[in-house]
């Protein structure tokens, strides 16, 4: 086999490997179990509702005491 033949073969092997990787990746993705958007969305909404009251950037602080950034008048024991 001449040098050019091995070089060509190397390239074909790598192209084949690449294509195999791409196709195998697609096979994996196609095999994923999917749920409907309506179900997925309901689950996200459920999570949000369950955590909304602890979301300070959404509902704010119930009182100044709850605000860690408040100006403290005295030293706090850490």
């Amino acid at each position: 086999i001449g040098l050019s033949d091995t070089a060509v073969m190397d390239m074909m092997i790598s192209n084949l490997q690449q294509q195999r990787q791409v196709t195998e990746q697609l096979r994996r993705e196609a095999a994923i179990k999917r749920i409907s958007v309506s179900q997925a969305v309901l689950d996200i909404m459920k999570y949000i509702t369950e955590h909304e009251q602890e979301d300070c950037l959404l509902v704010g602080f119930s009182s100044q005491k709850a605000n860690p950034f408040r100006e403290k008048s005295s030293c706090t024991l850490l």
């Binding site: 073969m9 084949l16 997925a40 996200i44 509702t49 509902v59 704010g60």
Partner: protein, 367 residues
């Protein structure tokens, strides 16, 4: 030997032609399957929710000290300190309550594009144009630079980094289009993540309940979900029309939000395996650099090149409010670990910390 451009591999029929054909068929099948389950729009389901009435939010702290663009920031797990990195090559550790600078470290490189706190709060990592990720143990006794340690090196700039579970491992994303998982102590490369066709710009870890996965966003416009242990890409999403600059998991772990140069943010649901929401307005034409969710996931904060932060109702897909104040691009933003505050960093050299005093917010979900 080889003939006619056909190379017989492991099994007969596994030629490039056959594989390519199968790939095309699989792509078409994927699209079909996703569409079949696309039975409703998120905003339609969220119609029953009350509109959020957002009042009384303004910058409460301004952190001044950087002498050039702020590129990245990260809250400490102690919910009080912030590390920030800048184009000027400096990394600063701030007390966000008092605005005091506790450490200032000069890096041997400019454009420190990424910085992150380790879970213990005792270590920070950063890097950028030097292609490296370097960790700095934080000490009040001596100059933080003395004990620094270079952990890993990419073949292009490092754009993002994070500590997955402990101080012992660090995950990086790079302009070389790969992500990498490193052992901090030995500097050993533990896992490599190949799949993107362009610079990796952002990554985020799945909330711990959902296991060892992370998401990456890239200039190739793809969002990829990875298994940290195997190095395999387990899911991919497309949709953005330009570079993706930021990716964040929804706190539920079931979806990821993205921000892109195409001026939109999007929500991709992992179990429906598709894009389920797009956050955009005709009036918004500038790219998004950074996104983050509030603790419940109801609010999506996004920092833009037009110097503003848009606050989106992630369910109703409408904008709740606009935050002004920065005098240049918002390059990074992050909700604090306990969700009490939002920090934003900008090319105007400053960082700002915002919290909400009180608001009239009622969110009823009526089924």
């Amino acid at each position: 030997m080889a003939s006619d451009g056909e190379f017989k591999a492991h099994s007969p029929g596994e030629t490039i032609e056959a594989l390519t054909k199968e790939a095309e068929a699989l792509k078409a099948k994927l699209e079909e399957e996703r569409q079949k389950l696309n039975d409703v729009a998120l905003s339609t389901v969220a119609e029953r929710l009350e509109v959020i009435n957002y009042l009384n939010i303004k910058p409460r702290r301004v952190l001044k000290g950087h002498q050039a663009k702020v590129l990245c920031s990260d809250w400490s797990p102690d919910k009080r300190h912030i590390v920030s990195s800048s184009q000027d090559g400096k990394m600063i550790i701030w007390d966000a309550f008092t605005t005091n600078k506790e450490h200032a470290v000069t890096m041997p490189t400019t454009w420190v594009m990424a910085c992150a706190y380790a879970p213990s709060g005792n270590l920070v990592a950063c890097g950028g144009l030097d292609n490296k990720v370097t960790v700095y143990p934080l000490s009040l006794e001596e100059d933080v630079s003395t004990k620094k340690k270079t952990v890993g090196t990419h073949t292009s700039y490092m754009s993002c980094c994070t500590f997955p579970n402990s101080d012992q491992q660090i995950l990086t994303g790079s302009g070389d289009s790969t992500c990498a998982l490193w052992d901090v102590e030995s500097g050993q490369l533990l896992q490599n993540f190949h799949g993107h066709a362009g610079d990796v710009m952002a990554l985020d870890l799945a909330p711990s309940e959902t296991g060892n996965t992370f998401v990456s966003g890239s200039c190739d416009r793809m969002v990829l979900i990875w298994d940290m242990r195997t190095g395999q890409c387990v899911q991919s999403f497309e949709g953005h029309q330009s570079d993706i600059n930021s990716v964040k998991f929804h706190p539920s772990g079931d979806a990821v939000a993205t921000g892109s140069d195409d001026s939109t943010c999007r929500l991709f649901d992992l179990r429906a395996d598709k894009e389920v929401a797009i956050y955009s307005k005709e009036s918004i034409i500038f790219g998004v650099n950074s996104v983050d969710f509030s603790v419940s996931g109801r609010l999506l904060f996004a920092g833009y090149n037009d110097y503003t932060v848009n606050v989106w109702d992630s369910l109703k897909c409408i904008r709740v409010t606009l935050l002004y104040g920065h005098e240049n691009r918002v390059s990074c933003l992050q909700v604090s670990p306990d969700g009490t505050a939002l920090s934003t960093g900008s090319w105007d050299y400053t960082l700002r910390v915002i919290y909400l005093m009180n608001s009239l917010v009622f969110c009823f979900v009526i089924f």
